[in-house]
Symmetry: C2
Subunit: 519 residues, 2 copies
């Protein structure tokens, strides 16, 4: 807290290049979560959709899912599912009835209501990289364990970029903070440094309850106000194949009871934790996701749920996970078709296997981001900053990804494909004829500043101009921006009373010992 406040005071005046540019490090697009206006890519026929649905239902009815949480087991028993030890088998009528109670769209309202987001329909929302244990930047030049300072810097990027619409998990795991109190410090930093939608890890009741309480405090909300509408969300992963573990389900049920956002994302690597065939991996992933959603809907009908996909393939030579592959793209698109079949909002990711922010990182990330778009995903996790299959967070990659995200946001602007008389522009074409150019004419001048996407990182100079400016490759340019953005960062406003209450809560919970670390 004191560290953050001191930094804020110290950094109050913007310095260096930022000042010379009139107060902003870059000219970025405004906060304006895009709507996906493209028809999704749908590789499956209706029969294909039904075959995968049928597969998921047979998994749930006949094969069963292990539920390693006694409370959840009891709920499934009460609901009439077949329980055999920890194995739960659910009839499709139950599953479909429960899934039918989930809303097809809902809002998440963070402490700054202007950052409210709608999840569902054709909204397309991007979140920061979440949970890498390690960090890499151009200055360090190697992979190192994450620290609180690195985490804070990535949170500043999360806040700074308008194309990041929600704050995912920790952008890097700060292993210099003891695990028992890590959630207190990082969620504190997240709430102070950003005003975007918050996430809680479902890693034990203390952590989940602490985060809910801190989000409530930061929003200046009563308990009733917190419960009245979704203010935050959790994301749980099944333990594929066919298993949900204790703490994830515990957090899931806690947030369900309080009507908060619920995202379930099985991590089904085809050939490892799921069948080597993509349709089988998707069917298994759906089964694992749907049973969690059914549980939440039984507990609190109508609570906001999102079905996630993290279906990719492994390198069959090494067993290493691969990301942004053709198989990954198709699995994401197929999941999108099934998510629409179930009328559930969907989550996917921006991912890569590359270890550094180079060409490979960008083609893998582009493939995965376009697959997110093509699948009709509503929430795109890890959309900025991810390397090495999620084991490394990188600020340069974060900033490079934001350049792509802004372009996707601009791509979804319907004005690009408007076809009214002003856009067909026959008068302009007639005026220029076959012996002039369009630079100086009124039709161009009137649209000069808004006609085209303006990148903040792409360098459009010719080679000679680029060389004269230092011949700087993309990651180096991103690194310079990273230093400038972090150096001149200003945290969003927070009332002193709330700031104090948050600090008091953190101090009290630390004094109590935080959360157990033996899970």
């Amino acid at each position: 807290m004191s560290q953050s406040a001191a930094r804020k005071r110290r950094g109050g005046g913007r310095a260096g290049n930022a000042a010379r540019r009139g107060g902003a490090v870059i000219e970025q697009m405004p906060w304006n979560p895009p709507l996906n206006i493209d028809r999704p890519i749908e590789p499956l026929s209706e029969e294909g959709v039904m075959a995968i649905h049928e597969g998921a239902m047979e998994i749930l009815e006949d094969i069963g899912i292990a539920i390693l949480n006694p409370e959840a087991l009891e709920i499934f028993r009460e609901a009439g599912c077949r329980i055999d030890g920890e194995l739960v088998r659910c009839g499709r009528e139950f599953i479909m009835e429960m899934v039918g109670k989930a809303p097809d769209s809902f809002t998440l309202t963070p402490r700054n209501p202007e950052r409210r987001i709608t999840v569902g329909g054709n909204t397309l929302l991007f979140g920061n990289v979440s949970s890498p244990p390690n960090y890499w930047d151009m200055e360090i030049g190697r992979k190192v364990p994450g620290t609180r300072e690195m985490c804070r810097n990535l949170l500043k990027l999360t806040q700074y970029f308008n194309c990041i619409h929600f704050a995912g998990g920790y952008p890097v795991e700060p292993v210099d903070i003891h695990a028992s109190v890590r959630h207190l410090d990082v969620v504190h930093d997240k709430l102070v440094l950003t005003d975007k939608v918050m996430h809680a890890y479902s890693l034990g009741k203390e952590r989940v309850e602490d985060v809910m309480e801190m989000v409530r405090i930061a929003g200046g909300l009563s308990h009733e106000e917190f419960d009245a509408t979704p203010r935050m969300y959790t994301n749980i992963n099944s333990t594929s194949p066919l298993k949900h573990d204790y703490p994830m389900l515990d957090g899931w049920m806690r947030l369900a009871r309080r009507g908060q956002g619920l995202v379930v994302t099985p991590f089904t690597l085809a050939g490892a934790m799921a069948p080597v065939t993509m349709a089988g991996a998707v069917a298994q992933s759906l089964a694992e996701g749907l049973i969690a959603i059914a549980l939440a809907q039984y507990i609190r009908p109508g609570c906001p749920c999102v079905i996630g996909t993290f279906t990719s393939n492994v390198d069959m030579k090494s067993g290493a996970p691969a990301f942004g592959t053709p198989e990954y793209m198709r699995a994401t698109q197929m999941t999108g078709q099934l998510a629409r079949f179930y009328k559930l909002p969907m989550r996917s990711s921006g991912v890569c296997a590359a270890n550094v922010p180079d060409g490979q990182a960008m083609w893998e990330t582009s493939n995965s981001l376009w697959a997110a778009v093509q699948s009709g995903s509503n929430m795109v996790y890890h959309a900025a900053g991810w390397l090495e299959g999620g084991l490394i967070a990188s600020p340069e990659k974060f900033i490079m990804d934001c350049e792509i995200l802004q372009q996707i946001q601009r791509y979804m602007d319907p004005s690009l494909t408007a076809t009214g008389p002003d856009e067909i522009a026959l008068d302009a074409i007639r005026a220029v004829g076959n012996d002039g150019h369009f630079f100086g004419i009124q039709h161009t001048q009137d649209r000069y500043s808004t006609a085209f996407y303006q990148p903040f990182l792409s360098d459009w100079k010719n080679y000679e101009g680029w060389e004269a400016a230092g011949a700087i490759w993309t990651p180096e340019r991103a690194h310079h921006l990273f230093k400038e953005i972090v150096g001149s960062f200003e945290a969003p406003p927070m009332e002193d009373a709330i700031r104090d209450e948050l600090a008091d809560f953190v101090a009290r919970r630390k004094a109590e010992g935080g959360a157990p670390t033996d899970f």
Copy 2:
């Protein structure tokens, strides 16, 4: 010729790493031009399509296009179009009648008939970078004028990679060869080093006639056989706005008369040579393309024509062209909708503004390649090797792009989204249950080697493995492959008699002085 033959003999045995890998530098996908199985992205409503069509028709009817070729002017006059000096205005009935004669699909058959390609329908074909005056590679480390050796090396890549389906123009302009005989040397190199579909620049009758004759000789064809089916193609660019120049139309008409492939690609940069509004730029581009296609169809009804798009935007700050932008993507998709409306095969490109093969190069190229896919393009020019808005050719970029092209090819494999019982794989899921993994089971073993795309350039090792292997970033890896591929290249077989006849033709035409250079 002697240089080429000597190199071929010298390089007969594969060396170094290639030999250790059993004869091939990389394991690449086989020659198998993909079919685009995705529904195109269609940003325009039916009304939008009609508005752009109406705009193109009004340009052709009312504004007119300058035709700087007396022979073509005479043909338009004969066809009943309104001629005013060099300005031609064509009624929409004439345009649509002529365009209706163009086939919606055709084949191009190179000297190796196994490399025949079909242009139209849902074929998706990739060609190498064409026409940059300059070259950049990691070893030279700066931009330098192209040479014959650089051109030959890029032709070797063109031949080597099975995901390159046709040979475009010169992959780099070899400015060390005098312009009068450059076409003879480079087309000779192209015909000897590759067996894929050839291109002729429409830059004067001598060049066009020489290339047609060389392609005929290389194919071992009589003149009648050459004329019987398309063996090669040309690509012409209008001189936007609203103008076609003399030599381009001359070559266009020569190939039309002999029934060869015809691609017309206006270079309409919105805000410079076309309206700042994308719909206007597309309408103008279509008008410029359709008049050339009408000309060809009037000369030889049914001759194979392709409508190309090169509509992008400029950087409004500098006037520099931008590529792979959101506006570029939408213009390409809109053109695709209109190409389907006119029932014409379509050409687009793989492009970027980046100066080096870095992250920016890859997100711009990915955007443009996915736009090509989404638009339903049949021919994708510059799909490998382009930098600096087409002013630089780079072998590293070529190889990096081929990694993306292979992934697109794999993405189009319908087996990825198959949903039969073997793919849903309930038996495998049941067998593994909730306490195992899929690595060792029979269902995985049976599909081990073909289940997933195997990259040749992406490095899927974890960070530590990647670091131990030298911590090599993507362009350096591509550079190593470039050296290996070129070092162990074997030209495709060519009969000695044909080789001699080609050499004789080149020698004779050089003795005659080649082609004039005063255009």
